[in-house]
């Protein structure tokens, strides 16, 4: 017996599929149908599924969402809702997963950068996307990636030509906004950096008013040899929003990805980052912070695979759980046979600020090679009482002292962020979210 969630998606699917951008292309139609059938057949992962051990979907299973938003193009959104300081380059804005040309800025793109919505690419020339879009059925696929592969008709397609260095950061904005019904939207992004190319990408999830929509997003990111990507994610979805994202990153020889993430909003949010270091000398640095408060459930899942020789990972994530918030972190590093010279380090430190908050963390190492340096560490605890005492002895009120120390704890995740104005803004956003932050800031 399918759950209300699956039923609602399946019931309206034929109608949705017929209207999706790209409908009518035989290979794409077949692929979408196949993925939809697999989704309906298997349903949502249950509590016994190890990958979903700490993120229960029982409540979601009982809810029904309306797929797609016919009024997405007309919904009122103010540009001030998402504009970021110092970020005024190319911009792609989606409301409920639908491209909004009126809010976007695609004029005068720098040389070497090709940037357009997936809906347009599918209509104009879908063939180059076939490789990426056909990747739905890989082994790690779950209900949400399948649903996304079946029903996503829009998203971002970004390509940087070989050797092109793009200075202005590209701003990708996904907006959720109040509607009469609970909506489900799906976005699919494709990012490809040619050899020696470099780019800064800002992925921004915004909620403009209360709603309980479900969004899914799947991104495929390919870094060819020596390409450099700085990728900053700021997730500040609406309090009631549900968001399921999977990012698949492939790094070729000597490619370098720096991934920063700040998880602030949403009620049930999961972000999976699957990275494969498959070229010699590839490197991934990731820093992130998640701040579940209220009744938020924020889940981050890193799956980093070292396949080639002399690859490196450095992951530093911080979590702060307050009120009834729950933070879930899974950081897996696999060093495959033959990936000698791998150097992998992962750290996840967490603070529990309330007696009702919970943190579940699981750092994992799987090592199949011997010339390896691998280490991970994870902690769950409280602020250092001695540090608090020190600050109070210098005249700081208790609340301010706590906020200051918590902020410092989180800011470690922003270290080495090159973009100064953005770094400052993110620091302010952090401070606002922390307990007592409004008064201290």
């Amino acid at each position: 017996m399918a759950s209300p969630f699956v039923e609602a998606q399946a019931e309206r699917a034929p109608d949705v599929l017929a209207r999706l951008p790209g409908a009518g292309l035989p290979w794409l139609d077949a692929l979408r149908r196949e993925q939809l059938e697999a989704f309906v057949r298997e349903g949502l992962p249950g509590a016994r599924n190890e990958a979903w051990k700490y993120t229960a979907l029982r409540a979601l299973e009982r809810r029904a969402f309306l797929t797609g938003d016919a009024e997405a193009a007309a919904r009122a959104v103010d540009i001030s809702d998402f504009v970021l300081p110092g970020v005024d380059g190319p911009r792609l804005v989606f409301v409920h997963g639908v491209f909004r040309a009126d809010l976007s800025s695609l004029d005068a793109l720098p040389e070497g950068l090709r940037l357009h919505p997936l809906s347009q690419a599918l209509v104009e020339d879908a063939e180059p996307l076939r490789f990426f879009l056909s990747r739905g059925g890989e082994q790690a696929a779950d209900a949400f990636t399948r649903l996304n592969a079946a029903l996503a008709g829009d998203g971002m397609v970004l390509r940087v030509a070989q050797g092109a260095r793009i200075d202005a950061p590209v701003h990708l904005v996904q907006i959720g906004t109040p509607a009469d019904e609970d909506l489900a939207w799906h976005a699919r992004n494709i990012v490809e950096l040619g050899e020696d190319a470099s780019l800064t990408l800002i992925e921004h999830h915004v909620g403009t008013g209360p709603h309980k929509h479900l969004g899914t997003q799947v991104s495929d990111i390919v870094l060819h040899a020596r390409a450099k990507l700085a990728w900053i994610g700021l997730q500040e979805a609406a309090d009631g929003a549900l968001l399921m994202r999977r990012d698949r990153v492939r790094l070729d020889a000597n490619a370098h990805a720096r991934v920063h993430a700040m998880e602030l909003g949403g009620s049930l949010v999961r972000r999976e980052l699957d990275a494969e270091l498959r070229g010699e000398g590839a490197r991934l640095d990731t820093r992130g912070v998640f701040l579940p408060g209220g009744r938020q459930h924020l889940d981050t899942r890193l799956d980093i695979r070292h396949v080639a020789k002399h690859t490196a990972t450095d992951a530093l994530w911080r979590g702060v759980a307050d009120q009834r918030g729950r933070g879930v972190f899974h950081g897996a590093i696999t060093v495959a046979e033959g990936a000698d010279g791998a150097d992998a380090a992962l750290s996840n430190k967490n603070l529990l600020l309330s007696p009702h908050a919970e943190i579940d963390t699981q750092p994992v190492l799987e090592i199949y090679a011997d010339e390896v340096m691998a280490a991970h560490g994870a902690t769950v605890g409280q602020l250092d009482e001695r540090a608090l005492f020190y600050l109070r002895s210098r005249g700081l009120p208790a609340v301010a002292a706590r906020t200051l120390l918590t902020l410092a704890f989180c800011r470690a995740a922003l270290d080495d962020l090159d973009h100064e104005a953005l770094c400052e803004h993110l620091g302010e956003r952090l401070a606002e979210r922390l307990p007592g932050g409004e008064t201290a800031a």
């Binding site: 190890e50 700490y54 046979e337 000698d340 967490n350 529990l352 600020l353 309330s354 007696p355 908050a357 919970e358 943190i359 579940d360 963390t361 699981q362 750092p363 994992v364 190492l365 799987e366 090592i367 199949y368 090679a369 011997d370 010339e371 390896v372 340096m373 691998a374 280490a375 991970h376 560490g377 994870a378 902690t379 769950v380 605890g381 409280q382």
Partner: protein, 490 residues
Amino acid sequence: MTAERSDNVATLRENNPEVVEALSRRYGAGFITDIETDSLPPGLNEDIIRALSALKEEPEWMTEWRLEAYRHWLTMPMPDWAKLKLSPIDFQAISYYAAPKNRPKSLDEVDPKLLETYDKLGVPLHERARLAGVAVDAVFDSVSVGTTFRKELAEAGVIFCSMSEAIKEHPELVREYLGTVVPTGDNYFAALNSAVFSDGSFVFIPKGVRCPMELSTYFRINAGHTGQFERTLIIAEDEAYVSYLEGCTAPMRDENQLHAAVVELVALEKASIKYSTVQNWYPGDENGVGGIYNFVTKRGDCRGDDSKISWTQVETGSAITWKYPSCVLRGDRSVGEFYSVALTHHHQQADTGTKMIHVGKGTRSKIVSKGISAGKSSNAYRGLVKVEKGAEGARNYTQCDSLLIGKTCGAHTFPYMEVKNSTAIVEHEATTSKISDDQLFYCRARGLDEENAVSMIVDGFCKQVFRELPMEFAVEAKKLLEVSLEGAVG
């Protein structure tokens, strides 16, 4: 290691039969004792369980307890989450009971062949026992063949006997505690064990007694096509203390024999139990043929305030080890410890770790796990630290280090941390690396050959755990590691 050097070693092996012999000399306990046994026919059903229970002259409640566990077991699937490579186990092909035919009435009547076996294994059962000062319960296949030092222990009020005897002589204690730490339906192998367990040790330390000597059980699988399913129950009443050692060996056979034990520890107020294991079941040969499948459930329950349970294990044997000695820290300020060295070589697979469940206030736990993998083996630490809502001020520290010797082995770490109390502090650290060339070079420059150098480095790597072992065991453990690692370098 350079390619040139490994070539040299290969040539050395070809031209030097002594080296070959040394390399294949590994499992010293692999002999078979030719002794007549009584055994039940292979197979598993309610009749077999009734027959087993009847053979052991058990009371009705015990038979029912077994049958209930068996019925539960039938409804359970074989767990597959540990991703072990194992050939399917045919539970109908195993004989669930094998015992030496001439059951002794006292230690003086023990079959000389049996004594010889334990002598070969270095286990003191007779006069040597007096010198060693350790009370031993020896379990041969399915039954206990003798327990030493009974008189001395009885004077102190300590009960140390086989489980079969305990069921007959102390049924009220067995009924009160059996299955309260590891319930019959706890997991697949615990359910199986509850249905068919044949013997094991029973220890009861009354209130305020500090057990005058170390207690020890020696398990030996001898008969072919059998499994060993022992059940150990240790109870330490208020302010009692006991240190318990467990050792195990089996002959070399091509078949995979099953060992599915359950160990339950109960520590009441201010009681302390120290449980040490040196596990040296037959690991299979260098091609992964044969060896013991070791699926064990060990759990300690710190029921009383200020109680303490400490697990120390050195795991060098078994084709597959699947074992998570755990502590349920229910009493306030109770303490759980887990010290482990797990070494795998050839095709061995070890998946071992612990669970520390913090329930009481101010509970503390410490985990130190050292994994060494060589050959084509796979060695995983899998652990859970759980802090329940009421565990104010709970504290955990976990350290897991893995050492890799060779390019084809795997070393994995799967820690789980679930924290529901904001005053708790949980810390986990893990590293994986190989023996560094610098370390090797230093030792070799001092005149040590490569094998000795590796052995010395491994010894240092494990020191933190060996320190926790009682003296006799520490010496044995160190030797075992050396033997198990032979042929791992080069």
